[in-house]
Amino acid sequence: MPGGSPYEDDLVGILPTARLLRRINPRFCDWNTLDAEGNPRVTRQAVQFYTEEMAARVGCPGPALSVIVESLADPLEVLRGRYAGDGLASITADVIRGEASERGIQLWPTPWEPAHAVVFRTDGGRDLPKSVKQRLAEHLSKNWVTPPRR
């Protein structure tokens, strides 16, 4: 999407220290690489942006990655039920945004997830570079809130 993003980074509502939760489908996990607690490594496929067409189907105006703002979210037990079968891992907003604010975060509530937010590229790009996705996936791997079931 040349010429910028349809989203706006919410620097006031989503502070750098804000914890964001990312739903992790177990199919995106490397079950051959487990940490000391037996939790799998998250692969970069877990942080791939929705295409424009996918985003439109969930009511979003452009490519983005869905996250949940923990401070606005339902209790964890409710989330675990809502996303049963999937895992949840956390990452802070400053890590998502990057050192040069290459990425933004905007609250984008949906009927099924009032605390839903989107991560987007501030230049309007359609997906994150794979090297960035690797770094984000590494962060998520170290911050499981609810590991998925295989």
Binding site: F28, C29, Q48
Partner: protein, 156 residues
């Protein structure tokens, strides 16, 4: 063969029906010293894993993910067979689908990573070596390094 050495593909492929990605792999296979027609022990199990991705239906993730395409699965299976034959001692890769219908095959360690994103029409390769500060992301046919050499010279 070192990491800094550019890939040299000098062996013509006899299979004229293959596309450029597959020709590249065949050439890499022929170029590798010690290439043997021996299959890796994981090949059958991983091949089954890849085929099972065809069972994913529309919306398998987040209600919007695309099904994995049959073409991508076929292409990934051929890629696996090539890699397995070229490097029988390699450990098994991790197989994941992507939300846009591709198959991703990856080898990962704490210091390096390589993956192949196999789509309906193309194969992309992404590799990183933190120690040697080497990285690439793009079409397999344009990779400045021979991905099989990258796989073969490291322990995983």
């Amino acid at each position: 063969m070192t990491l800094a050495e550019p890939a040299v593909f000098s062996v013509a492929s006899p299979a004229s029906s293959l596309d450029e990605s597959e020709l590249t792999l065949q050439r890499m296979h022929f170029a590798l010293p010690g290439s043997l027609a021996v299959s890796s022990s994981w090949l059958h199990a991983v091949d089954v894993e890849v085929k099972e991705l065809l069972l994913l239906s529309e919306g398998w993730d987040g209600a919007v993910a695309y099904p994995v395409s049959a073409e991508a699965v076929d292409r990934a299976r051929r890629l696996l067979a090539e890699i397995g034959a070229a490097l029988p001692a390699l450990p098994r890769p991790t197989v994941t689908p992507s939300i846009d219908g591709c198959v991703v095959l990856e080898w990962h360690s704490s210091e390096r990573h390589i993956d192949f994103t196999v789509g309906r029409d193309s194969i992309e390769v992404f590799y990183e070596d933190d120690k040697q500060d080497v990285g690439w992301d793009g079409p397999l046919t344009r990779s400045p390094l021979d991905p099989l050499a990258f796989l073969s010279v490291h322990s995983w």
